[in-house]
Symmetry: none
Subunit: 224 residues, 2 copies
DNA sequence: ACAGCCCCATGCACATCCTGGTTGTTGAAG
DNA sequence: CTTCAACAACCAGGATGTGCATGGGGCTGT
């Protein structure tokens, strides 16, 4: 679950980032409106958290720009307490919900989850492929009803596979989704983690589910 | 958690209803003061959300009527921004908190939760998890019928765990609930206090109840 | 002044992540 | 069929991150 946080105050930004990551989200940061728009257009996010007061381009204009470019990612707006009028124009310009500063973090989390739940029908539901089960909420994974312990990175990688089964996934695509926004292409980190995953997911089972597509990448599918 | 919303404007009423339901509350609607009083006397609610300007019987009189009939359900009053005088008489007539229109919805939710929390705290019901008992009134704690001496902070921390058992609690959430920290991420105070708690709660017992969830926070649960 | 509590800073232990190198595999050209 | 180059799998060790334990300083109430 990827969230883009657009917030210029570094303290607030990193506070939100850390808190959301503890809740199991993957968080990217943008520090002004322009950067926010660029990042949101580059990569599909599940939610954008947008401060209204921003350098270069304010939050509301940023949302408008996104909507004009047909980016329909839901947006949760952060606004100063007294700027009630902003809220109205915020909803006008395409924001889906708002939160006034200062806010309780618990509040932010529940709004965030509500928006994501509302906007993505099947998200949050358990993912199943063959005899693998994956719970995106608790980040737990089972194969054949036996729980499997994964690290954060291993989990994200598997989640990406589970959301795109039976499709060959290129290293570039995997890097974008599972690793950071900018990425160094000359590393074998993905191979390494696929290897880790195979050890935990496939090694003790007859039916191998993670396959290599030579020259392309990897694929999650039933063996022939 | 059942909430009664007394509000004549249909748009506002259904907006509030929908929002609160998304937060997990069950919401009934009444459209004027009389209906509100009848419903509140019929069925015990955890909270009443009362508009002041209402047909048939205004909100303040409704509250008075309820209190005269010994209904002590907490009331959150909604009032127009300029009617500050109303607020005072509102508090007089037995309202527990108020909110001026127009309000941010997040504000409404957090006040709602605060009121319900405050009220259920006061019931002072003893909290029990496994063989830990905690009395919110006297702030005393027992494990296996043996009293355990905790400092104020240790106690608040444990109480938070006891009110949210079997859930991973992130450091951010703990900091917000137990300390009043908002943006201070550069301290290990929570780790330190969890350590204190473990010494007193878990150290002398076989069954450890406070567990670490790496990268997330802590959880109170039975060992596997 | 002292004791108790709260909080901070530090150092250690260990899990996780990543890099670089080595070995193994594949498929096409000779 | 053999050879070779490209690609993938695997391994080992170092860097980084995260949590735990502990000592001590500041503050407050006695």
């Amino acid at each position: 679950m990827h969230i883009l946080v657009v917030e210029d105050e570094k303290k607030v930004a990193s506070f939100i980032k850390r808190g959301l990551e503890e809740e199991g989200f993957t968080v990217d940061l943008a520090h002004d409106g322009e950067e926010g728009v660029n990042m949101a257009m580059d990569k599909p996010y599940d939610l954008i958290l947008m401060d209204v007061m921003l350098p270069k381009m304010d939050g509301l204009s940023a949302i408008k720009t996104l909507r004009q470019n047909n980016i329909q990612t839901p947006v949760l707006c952060l606004t100063a307490k007294d700027a009630v009028d902003d809220i109205v124009s915020g909803l006008d310009s395409g924001s889906d919900d708002y939160l006034t500063k200062p806010f309780a973090f618990a509040e932010l989390v529940s709004r965030t989850k509500a928006l994501i739940r509302r906007n993505s029908h099947d998200r949050g539901a358990e993912l199943v492929f063959a005899d693998i089960r994956l719970d995106p909420v608790s980040h737990k994974v089972w194969r054949a009803d036996q729980e499997i312990d994964l690290t954060t990175k291993e989990y994200s990688l598997l989640e990406y596979f589970m959301r795109n089964p039976n499709q060959a996934l290129s290293r570039t695509m995997i890097a974008e989704q599972v690793w950071d926004y900018t990425f160094d292409t000359f590393t074998n980190i993905i191979d390494v983690y696929v290897n880790y995953l195979r050890k935990k997911i496939d090694r003790n089972f007859d039916k191998k589910l993670i396959h290599t597509v030579r020259g392309v990448g990897y694929i999650l599918r039933e063996p022939e």
